[in-house]
């Protein structure tokens, strides 16, 4: 199996995971959204902003991840083609599966997962900066603080890890493979084939 196909399969499985995880959460989210919407009419201006922010952040992130999961499920072969383009396959079977290919595919899948995990913090940070910041005087809600910094740190870590894993998968895999590399000749000398050993014993006797 070409490594491109393996990457497509793994991306599709990640897509299915997001699809079911957040698809199943949609009834809860709808109930939560309805409750927040109907109860917001009785609240003050300050709380309305907080509610709006909370509702948008809590509803939009799962919906976005659900849509992205759907896209990943449906478009996995095309995404895999970005990493292993057909034009690069000068020789048929160029991308044939090897252990190193499996490692590269796994690293890229981890990168995609990290990028998906960055979406939640990204949206929360954007909402805070774009919606709450302009109305800071009215609401009295200050955008700095522990949750904001937590989201910012989480966003930075996920985004960086995701981009590095996706874009530098080859270099990371090559670096990992340097460790524990076994020289075939030394390995053969250390562990001779069983048949050879037996024939040696037979000749000795």
């Amino acid at each position: 199996m070409p490594v491109r196909d393996l990457l497509a399969v793994l991306l599709r499985v990640v897509g299915l995971w997001y699809l079911i995880r957040y698809g199943a959460a949609l009834p809860s989210l709808v109930a939560q959204g309805c409750w927040l919407f109907f109860s917001s009419q009785q609240r003050a201006m300050t709380e309305d902003f907080a509610l709006f922010y909370g509702t948008v952040a809590q509803l939009l992130v799962p919906v976005l991840l659900f849509v992205l999961g759907l896209l990943l499920t449906l478009r996995a072969p095309r995404i895999a083609l970005w990493f292993y383009p057909a034009r690069d396959e000068a020789v048929p079977g160029e991308f044939r599966m090897r252990a190193s290919g499996l490692l590269r595919a796994g690293i890229r899948v981890l990168g995609v997962y990290a990028l998906f995990e960055a979406i939640g913090p990204l949206l929360r940070v954007l909402l805070r900066v774009l919606i709450l910041k302009p109305h800071e005087e009215v609401t009295g809600i200050v955008i700095s603080g522990e949750p904001f910094l937590e989201n910012l740190a989480s966003l930075t870590a996920c985004l960086l890890a995701g981009l590095v894993l996706v874009l530098k998968a080859e270099a990371i895999a090559a670096w990992i493979e340097r460790f524990g590399r076994v020289d075939p000749e030394q390995a053969a000398a250390a562990h001779p084939p069983i048949d050879a050993g037996r024939s040696g014993e037979a000749s000795d006797s």
Partner: protein, 191 residues
């Protein structure tokens, strides 16, 4: 074995994972509802949310079961009409079952390992007192037993389940066949 066969196997494992996770909700619901039934405490969150969360759990269970049983058909829908020979599917059926069995066993071990979580929560709730203080520990014991039971069952029955799904399950991953050409209007009369 090609990518299509691997997709079927991995989708089945993912389906079983979600099915197990949906079953986890039973003791959790009990932990939320029992205090209300026992001592008439008011619900911390509106009833509508409870119903919605129940709907979420049911949806997850249905999706998991669907994926477990109909992985072949789903794969057919996703990959499109690429012809796969029936002999090829038959030849890899045993291999797919073997791979699914190994992955089911890993899932089983994971589920047994996750028994630790609720057990730790029991120890954390020892200091609680009140008329409904027993609810949380009891529900955590139920959750731990459920996880351990499911894990142990899967560990023992993984081989049988995997082969049953591939051999005589409801989904036998039917191969795509090209549509038959429509008969010409006069062909039947001529014959």
């Amino acid at each position: 074995m090609n990518a299509r066969h691997l997709t079927i196997v991995l989708a089945r494992v993912l389906g079983l994972y979600f099915l197990f996770e949906a079953l986890d909700w039973i003791p959790r619901f009990a932990a939320e509802i029992l205090p209300v039934l026992v001592s008439g405490e008011t619900l911390l969150v509106p009833l509508g949310w409870r119903v919605a969360r129940l709907a979420s759990a049911l949806l997850m269970a249905a999706a998991g079961a669907g994926l477990l049983l109909r992985a072949g058909r789903l794969e057919g829908h996703l990959s499109g009409p690429i012809p796969v020979r029936l002999e090829q599917l038959e030849a890899t059926r045993h291999l797919r079952a073997e791979l699914a069995c190994a992955l089911f066993r890993i899932l089983a071990l994971l589920w047994i390992y996750w028994t630790i979580g609720p057990l730790v929560q029991i120890l954390e709730a020892v200091h609680l007192s009140g008329p409904t203080a027993w609810v949380d520990p009891v529900c955590n014991v139920a959750l731990a037993l459920l996880r351990f039971g499911l894990g142990a069952w899967l560990l023992v029955r993984a081989d049988r389940l995997a082969h049953r799904l591939e051999h005589d399950g409801p989904d036998r991953a039917p191969p795509w066949q090209p549509p038959r050409p429509a008969p010409e209007p006069g062909a039947a009369l001529a014959s």
